[in-house]
Every structure is written in C-alpha cells, then in structure tokens.
Symmetry: C2
Subunit: 172 residues, 2 copies
C-alpha cells in the first residue's frame, strides 16, 4: 500500500468533509454534523487558521471503492495549559475501514507528532470513546495515557442555550 501523508490543500475540502461525515455516521452522530466544506475552508485556510489537517493520499490505482484518493485525515490545533504550556490537541483521526491495518493511522500520528515538536508542544491530547476498543488499543500501543482515569478528569460542556443565558446582563 503506497500513500503519502501531507497537510491538506483547498482541493481536499470535499474529500475531508466526506470523511468527517463518514466518521460521524460510524459514531451514529451524522445529525450532529453542522459544518460544511465552506465553513472548514473559512476556518482552515485563513492566515491565523483555527486548526490544521493532515491527509493520507493513496496512489490512483489504490483508490477507495468510491474512487477517492484521500482515505484518512487527522485534525489538530494548538491549546494551552497553564501548568505545562503548549499542547497539540488531536480532534479527529479517521481512516476509512477498507484502508485500516496498513499503518496509515500511525503515519498520520507520527506526522502530527512532528507538528507537535515543531510547535514546541509537550503533549498531544485527544478524546477517545471508551466503547471503541480497537482505537483504545491502538492509542495505548503508542504510549497514550487515559487521563480521565488517571486524574479523574471529566470533560464537560456548556451548550449554546446555556451560554446565552450565562451571557445575559442579568446574570452578572
């Protein structure tokens, strides 16, 4: 299997969006996808882009059943811990099912690790779903620690309705 890992380009927007939706489908969460290729373009290709994206591109003869050469992607952005400093956050890592087991996920993470070092990050953090045992095993093999278990850290979210209520002048 021959492939290259590279930062995404404008012409990859539709292919990446398709993979984002495919990944959400596997999480039974397609209805939660509110982004569009235009939104990803506006956020990802301006000068102070909010995030970066790496893609895996296979050679033309190895394209997917649907004829696509972009078969995997990895999203990341810079975050900051007041204790440790810079941390690269890996938002998504997705490899199409028919291309798994060929080292593409590890290659994407190896390239993300280079991005982390270039940006002087001391950690890569990401979220892993507890029910996704193959992903959990894959990350553990690469040396990842589950800090939810180690530190009893829970991820919490305040959603838009509550943000609006909080921001109302009466709450101050």
């Amino acid at each position: 299997m021959s492939y290259i890992i590279r930062p995404w380009a404008l012409e990859d927007l539709k292919a990446v969006m398709r993979l984002v939706r495919e990944s959400a489908s596997l999480h039974k969460a397609l209805d939660q996808v509110k982004t569009t290729p235009e939104i990803l373009r506006d956020e990802g290709f301006r000068k102070d882009a909010t995030f970066g994206c790496l893609v895996a591109e296979v050679s033309p003869e190895q394209r997917s059943k649907e004829g696509d050469a972009i078969v995997a992607y990895q999203f990341h952005y810079l975050t900051y811990c007041t204790w440790d400093g810079r941390i690269l956050f890996g938002e998504d890592l997705y490899v199409q099912p028919e291309f798994r087991g060929k080292g593409i996920g590890s290659s994407l993470l190896a390239t993300a690790a280079k991005v982390a070092l270039a940006k002087r990050c001391s950690q890569i953090r990401f979220i892993s779903a507890a029910w996704n045992q193959p992903a959990t095993d894959f990350y553990a093999k690469l040396g990842a620690l589950n800090v939810t278990i180690r530190n009893s850290w829970n991820l919490c979210s305040i959603e838009e309705e509550h943000i609006r209520r909080l921001a109302e002048p009466a709450t101050e």
Copy 2:
C-alpha cells in the same frame, strides 16, 4: 464585595502566575507547573495569542490577606470540532478560597460566555475533576453537561517521550 471582571494586562502576569501556582497547590500538583510569567507573557500577549485570560480585580480596601487585588482568573482559547465548529475551551477557573461564594466565579464564566458568543462558539468545554464536588455542583447549576459520562469520552494524552518516539523517521 465590589469587583470588576476584565481581560488581563501585562501588569497582571505575576498575580495570575501566583494564582496558577496556588491552584496547582490545591490540586497537589505544584511540581507540574513548568510555566513562568515570561512564558505566559510570550504566549498571551503576542498578536496571534494562544489564549485569553480574564481576571477579577477587587477594590483596594478588599485586597487579599497577601495584599493582592487580582483574586481570580479564567483562561480560555479557541478550539474546533469538525462536527460543531468553534468551541471555546475554558482551561482554568480559579477563585481564591477567601473570595468564594460571592459570585466571582459565575461572573468570570458570564464574561467567558460573552467571549464565546463574540467568537461564534456553539459550546464552552472544560475539564472538571471528579473529586471536586463543589466545582461539579457549581458547573451543573450553570447547565454544564458531563460529556465523559454522556458520551463515554475519555481524555487521553501522549507525553513528550512518546511524541519523540512517534516522530522518529523509523516509525513511518
């Protein structure tokens, strides 16, 4: 109790660093604090700053036992979800023990909520320690959801030693 909430300024660096260390002490993690006022200045006060910080400043006659007017802070930065778009991540929210129960934490979060709306974020996310029941109750009252429990999402970390191993050419 009279106080104002405002974005931090260069002259707050030492006060904020002191609170960061005080908060880490309460987490029994002071040895994990690698940042310095200089590092926070370089990251937080350049044009494309990695993060923002809000501080609560009390009037001179209400200063803390140590004589400080900055008695609470809240750190945040922009993150990105491929499904939902922009999310404001609240890294730290800390109020000195002697100033708790006066609405300062809620005021900081109300101002962070305004930042989230101004930056077109659909969520505020943050980490809450499961053992910190007062914090858990406080966040629940504001409408926060525990997505580690709801979605079985675990936070994972790849630390520097493993990042370096991953980034080595031999792993590709």
